[in-house]
């Protein structure tokens, strides 16, 4: 690729006691691209995202975002600098309504700690929040308490919150797990379309190869903490090792 990478990891390594969750992970992400990450269970996919977003500190290696070294930065700082994520188990505010969830995301993005006396619930903000809900097809649930919603909706909300404030990079950890099969594609479309409007760089972890094929031009395959393959999706999915360890023979 000709353009400069927006996010680069070099030789990332993470150990938990005796377990090596990541070893020599070097990946470059380019502005505007959509990248899929696949891999066996426990291959280190979530660990990778956790390191990039500052939840885990790598045992070795560096992470560069827009040329700046962000290794070891806190999740808050990575978020503020423009890297957002969604979670394998959706991370939401369960007792609040969908609308409130998004409003909170907006306040947090806008003012970090929140201003002390200016009213936060402005008409403008309400409109913006409703617009986000509409963009992610969540408007039907605006006033429902989030904890009572089906998994899929929670996942979608999780992504919507990550998208607030138009970050430069979004990392989605299994966005479609828990979403019913006939809704997966629709959901990816509703989730990704608004993000793709801008120049957002997107990485998603996925176990469903149909989704991977459909939405990602490039795929990285993980196995046992290392990168098994990295390249155009079609090639990676044909890779023998990937077929053996990740996809399995029959299903591909």
């Amino acid at each position: 690729m000709s353009r400069d990478a927006i996010l680069i990891t070099e030789g990332l390594e993470k150990q938990f006691g005796g377990v090596v969750a990541a070893r020599d992970i070097s990946v470059a992400m380019y502005p505007g691209e959509t990248l899929a990450v696949i891999g066996a269970n426990g291959a280190g996919k979530t660990t990778f995202v956790n390191m990039v977003t500052g939840y885990l500190k790598p045992s070795a290696g560096t992470i560069r975002f827009r040329g700046r070294d962000i290794t070891g930065m806190s999740p808050r700082d990575t978020a503020r600098s423009g890297i957002r994520r969604s979670f394998q188990i959706s991370q939401i505010f369960p007792q609040l309504t969908t609308l409130e969830n998004v409003i909170i995301a907006d306040i947090a993005a806008a003012e970090s700690g929140g201003a002390l006396s200016a009213p936060a619930l402005t008409g403008e903000r309400m409109d913006a929040a409703r617009a986000i809900l509409a963009r992610f097809a969540l408007d039907g649930f605006a006033d429902s308490i989030v904890g009572t919603l089906p998994q899929g909706v929670k996942k979608q909300l999780d992504i919507a919150m990550a998208a607030v404030g138009d970050p430069a990079v979004i990392l989605l950890d299994e966005p479609t797990s828990g979403v019913s099969v006939d809704e997966k594609i629709g959901m990816m479309e509703t989730a990704l379309a608004p993000l793709k409007d801008g120049e957002t760089t997107l990485l998603f972890i996925e176990h469903d190869m149909d989704i991977v094929r459909r939405f990602a031009a490039r795929t990285v395959a993980f196995y046992e903490g290392t990168i098994l393959a990295d390249g155009p999706t079609g090639e990676v999915l044909q890779n023998d090792k990937v077929r053996q360890y990740v996809i399995g023979g029959a299903h591909a």
Partner: protein
Amino acid sequence: MLEVRTLDVAIAGTPILRGASLDVPPGTTAGLIGRNGAGKTTFMRAVMGLLRPEGGAILLDERDVTAEPAHVRAPMGVGYMPEDRRLIPEFSVEENILLPVHATGAGVDRARLTMIYDLMPEIARFADRKALALSGGQQKLVALGRALIVGHRLLLLDEPFEGVAPALAQRLIEVIGGLRGEGMSVLLSESDHVHSADLIDELFVIERGEITRRTAQAA
């Protein structure tokens, strides 16, 4: 093995299941298919006694357990794998798997444990690690193992393949299919039967809390 008659369940005043009926004869594998929010999890939880039904009956092996507390089911040979894994974080993987065995006071069936480890060699590898450290998919496997260890008669598996890498999912399907031969009944829920099409003898579709039966072929 499992017979559910016109089950009504409401959560916080909202009816979720309406007259849901379903039966799984011994030795069959039934699929409960439905979109998000259709009520699959609610159904499973009600069968397990984790939710109080407002009406209807649940029979296990012809015994009416509708009003019985949750814990009587495991000793009857019912294994349950919840959708959200729910391992005991400070227990090791093996302790988690053996939990129902210890709970019911039955002796540890080594052969069955070995069978589970053979089925999923990856969990054998981390058998002595604490459950809290595992990745999402790994936890899912452990939860499946935990259901298998007591589920001599009936397995209730709530979206067992969700978040499991395809290669492994295929292997699991084969093994669950093999259980039929042992006379076990299985009820597994999925949002679609792509994974389990070959596995399922009976297909039930749940929609807005109502269950309709389809034949596997027709679906």
